[in-house]
């Protein structure tokens, strides 16, 4: 961040936006939140159509990878995981956000490892489908937490098996 120091110039552009909005008071923040949540609730049915499409795309992508590996397809799966992470909670599905993040992180950590564990990628998709089908909105749902924990452990094991030196693997077994 040294560029904010030596030989830098600091200046304040005129605040045109403050002048534009004026001094008119706006709605109470709680009213804004309530109105936005109501609007997002109206979008929820649409979201459930979108997310089902995304889950089908993920299933098709995994099937395609089983036929022939293509790094672009794996990247697409990662991107969709990231997008699901970014939207689930907005529509009352925090576990979809968590699962989307797990899927994204599993591939992002090491795509080569992920490519060898397509069943685990598919398990993430199955889990997200389950959340949707069973309408699970509670982040603390015990059964769902159990599955999440299993996915995390499996991902750790997959990456760990590939990073552990061969001698360590032998001595551990």
């Amino acid at each position: 961040m040294s560029d904010d120091n030596d030989s830098s110039r600091v200046f304040t552009p005129p605040n045109l936006l403050r002048a534009k909005v004026g001094n008119k008071p706006g709605p109470d923040l709680n009213q804004i939140v309530a109105k936005a949540e109501a609007a997002l609730t109206e979008l929820k049915d649409d979201y459930e159509v979108w997310i089902r499409d995304d889950l089908q795309t993920l299933r098709d992508a995994v099937a395609s990878l089983r036929q022939e590996f293509d790094p672009k397809v794996l990247e697409r799966i990662k991107t969709l995981g990231h997008e699901i992470k970014g939207q689930g909670s907005t529509y009352g599905y925090p576990l979809l956000t968590t699962a989307g993040n797990l899927l994204y992180s599993f591939i992002d950590r090491d795509a080569d490892v992920a490519a060898q564990h397509l069943d685990l990628i598919y398990a993430h998709v199955d889990f997200m489908t389950l959340i949707l089908n069973q309408n699970i909105h509670d982040q603390g749902d015990a059964n769902a937490q159990g599955v999440l924990s299993g996915l995390q452990s499996a991902a750790e094991k997959a990456h760990g098996d590939h990073t552990r030196p061969a001698s360590a693997t032998r001595s551990a077994t």
Binding site: F11, V21, L43
Partner: protein, 165 residues
């Protein structure tokens, strides 16, 4: 008490149309109706030329140019329609290294996905009410990256000078 934001115009740049609906719903709840959308950075740059939005909200993960490429175009492009336009970056990437990368590219605010309604309001209000000064340096042009002033700092002021436009 909040300030009315309804006079603002906002350009939303995201290649995911679902996110267009989400952001539109939230902005409309703030009475911001003057909202346009672009699917990619190139279209957004064109839109800026014709429409001059007050604020830009952009996603990071896009193709072929990503959100930070777009920010660079806006801040440093020789043909940028408005290098000073406030930019809020929406991203699911919240790791510290990513946040620093975004900040060093010249975004005003970073907002994590899933979007918090209150956080989006707070960031827009901050841009309007307390805009940060701009810094022009050898390798950086954008809003000042210093978030606070250390009142106990006794060292020399290393910046060359400060002035208002």
């Amino acid at each position: 008490m909040t300030i009315s934001l309804e006079a603002l115009s906002i350009l939303v740049v995201d290649d995911n149309k679902h996110m267009h609906s989400v952001v539109k719903a939230i902005l409309n709840s703030m009475r911001i109706k003057n909202v346009r959308f672009s699917d990619n950075a190139a279209d957004a740059f064109m839109e800026m030329r014709q429409w001059h939005p007050d604020i830009i909200i952009t996603d990071w993960a896009m193709q072929p140019l990503d959100g930070l490429d777009f920010v660079r175009l806006v801040r440093k492009g020789a043909d940028s329609p408005n290098p000073y336009v406030p930019i809020i970056l929406l991203t699911g990437h919240t790791e510290m290294c990513r946040v620093i990368e975004a900040r060093d590219t010249g975004v005003n605010e970073i907002l994590a996905k899933p979007i918090s309604i209150k956080s989006l309001y707070t960031r827009i209000a901050a841009i309007v009410q307390s805009p940060r000064p701009f810094v022009k340096a050898k390798n950086y042009f954008g809003p000042c990256r210093r978030r606070g002033t250390n009142l106990n700092y006794k060292g020399p002021e290393r910046r060359k000078d400060e002035f208002a436009l």
